[in-house]
């Protein structure tokens, strides 16, 4: 393939060709890569009561010596000192792991059922999965507040069928359970679609061969279907796990005061306490935690292309 494209006329030197690469490249360097260097830099500076609320660290290239001598790891030391932050990181990871597992548990049967549905029906089913993904995240989380709150619709439903007494209320809103429901609900399309595209490509003759040879369906599933769908499982899990770890909106709107998630902590440090260097340090550590999952995700994407 490579040899074909190198001799291709479109790949001859051409000024327009360089612009095609350079314009998006420079944009991403400026607005995606450079900000990460800045966040890293500010996480190493001291908090100051000023605007911007941190001490400037880097005033031109002549100041590299000063820069090194002024590096200040206090923010990171503070993060390791205060158990609140460590707990928030661990709790985010715990919530992300559990929700990713729940998403697989719900998403896999749905994706499998979609892949086994008649070919005529499949585009409609895919469309039905995509449609909620196009509606706003915030709106979908908001929809659950009306359902889950103590005087909400779930309480009403349980009271009317007699599962709850007239004075009892469902105690889910502002707990971790509500966060799990919100996350599973919001991320389900992201889990189903990669699983479906892996399962849909599967060669059914393999399963027929297994059943002809007397393999029971559940065993055929674990021996053939599941291993072949693993790329989809990994892609779906990473697409969900990484953003869930830094999730802010769902724990903020559905979670309680004791729901610790690092995205919420970062938001509070930044907007509430106005401690920009500490918020940057929180972000840097979150990023370091996510490096491995992000690399797995990128490798998976490269294999697809």
């Amino acid at each position: 393939m490579a040899s074909v494209s190198e001799t291709h006329p479109a790949n001859k030197p051409n000024p327009a060709r360089w612009l095609v690469v350079a314009v998006p490249y420079v944009w991403l360097l400026l607005f995606f890569a450079a900000p990460f260097l800045i966040i890293f830099k500010i996480s190493l500076s001291e908090t100051a009561i000023a605007m911007p609320p941190y001490t400037p660290l880097f005033d031109g290239f002549g100041a590299i010596g000063d820069f090194v001598s002024e590096l200040d790891f206090d923010n990171y030391l503070f993060l390791t000192d205060d158990p609140l932050y460590i707990e928030a990181y661990l709790s985010s990871l715990r919530i992300a792991v559990i929700s990713t597992f729940l998403l697989l548990l719900i998403g896999y049967p749905m994706a499998l059922a979609m892949a086994r549905a008649p070919t005529m029906l499949r585009p409609t089913l895919v469309m039905l999965v995509i449609l909620p993904f196009w509606t706003s995240f915030l709106i979908r989380v908001y929809a659950w507040i009306g359902i889950l709150k103590p005087d909400g619709l779930l309480t009403l439903l349980f009271q009317s069928v007699g599962l709850l007494g007239a004075d009892d209320q469902v105690q889910i809103f502002r707990t971790d359970y509500a966060v799990f429901i919100g996350i599973v609900y919001s991320y389900l399309p992201f889990m189903i679609l990669p699983l479906y595209s892996a399962l849909e490509k599967m060669d059914n003759t393999l399963l027929e061969a297994a059943s002809d040879l007397g393999c029971p369906p559940w065993k055929a599933f674990w021996k053939i279907t599941f291993p072949l769908s693993l790329p989809g499982v990994i892609a779906g899990s990473m697409i969900c796990f990484i953003p869930i770890t830094g999730e802010f909106v769902i724990p903020d709107l559905l979670g309680g005061a004791d729901t610790l998630m690092i995205g919420k902590t970062l938001w509070t440090e930044f907007f509430g306490n106005r401690d920009w260097p500490l918020a940057s340090a929180v972000a840097v550590i979150l990023l370091i935690m996510l490096v491995v999952p992000i690399m797995i995700f990128q490798n998976q994407q490269k294999k697809v292309t």
Binding site: P24, A33, I106, M110, L112, Y142, G146
Partner: protein, 272 residues
């Protein structure tokens, strides 16, 4: 046949889970009563209050402008990025480039938002309308790149090659041949970019400044105070717009596909 009954049950329950909350939200926007649990009869009064809520309407207008401008910029940049990734197999820093395309797709929004804000402050740009546009362009272009890239990968290059062999300059070939062929994907990318921009709360909260309150920021600040039917009304309108958009898009791609198949058949008949 046992498995097909299992599949039907799974799909019914799954889609019920996905759709019931949205349906409830829409239904209660027409509720005459202010209480969520009480049905007070059909009424359009919340749409009227929403319409006369100046703050909400201003925010909607800001969001629409941000959406159109950033989706357009994001589509141009994303299409260029997709072309770079698919057509140019070798250039310096290609690994970094593809990494910067994929990473924003999964990057937690709080990190992207915070880092952009720190950039704007460090460079000394006043935050407001245009900083939100820069932020939205940056993350939407990556989604557009993925959508257009998948179209380019299944692209038959013989037409392009024919044009180039006949001496058509590459830039003209792109606008005359390549772009029309990938256009459905470019439009799909634009729509995706527009809805993503319309949706975004976290990144906009970091990137915005005085005078540029977007609709999600406005909705969020009201939701924190509690559920009100007025919010249900604006959500219903947004859901309606998105649904109509998606349906129109899927019908038009289907028609384009049919037309293409018909043209191909006609071409085959013409040659034989």
């Amino acid at each position: 046949m046992k498995s097909s009954r299992f599949d039907a049950t799974v799909l019914t329950l799954g889609f019920a889970f996905l759709y019931i909350p949205i349906i409830i939200l829409v239904v209660y926007s027409f509720n005459a009563s202010k209480l969520v649990t009480v049905w007070g009869g059909f009424s359009l009064q919340w749409y009227k209050t929403m319409w006369s809520n100046q703050g909400l309407m201003d925010a909607a207008w800001v969001t629409a402008r941000v959406g159109v401008i950033s989706a357009t910029l994001g589509t141009v940049l994303g299409t260029l990025a997709a072309l770079s990734l698919v057509r140019f197999t070798r250039f310096p820093g290609r690994m970094l480039f593809s990494g910067m395309i994929y990473a924003p797709l999964v990057m937690p929004e709080v990190i992207t938002g915070l880092s952009l804000l720190l950039l704007f402050v460090a460079v000394g740009i006043d935050r407001g309308f245009w900083t939100v546009i820069i932020a939205h362009t940056t993350f939407t272009m990556c989604y557009v790149a993925i959508v257009v890239q998948s179209r380019l990968l299944t692209f038959d290059r013989s037409l392009e090659e024919a044009a180039l062999d006949l001496g058509c300059p590459p830039v003209k070939t792109f606008f005359k041949i390549t772009l029309p062929l990938i256009f459905p994907a470019v439009i799909a990318g634009w729509m995706l970019a527009f809805t993503l921009s319309l949706d975004d709360l976290v990144i906009a909260s970091f990137a915005t400044g005085p005078g540029a309150t977007t609709l999600p920021i406005k909705i969020y600040s009201q939701v924190r105070l509690g559920v009100t039917p007025e919010i249900n009304a604006i959500c219903t309108i947004l859901i309606g717009l998105v649904t109509i958009g998606v349906i129109i898009a899927s019908i038009s791609t289907k028609q384009a596909e049919m037309r293409r198949i018909r043209d191909e058949h006609a071409a085959i008949r013409g040659t034989t």
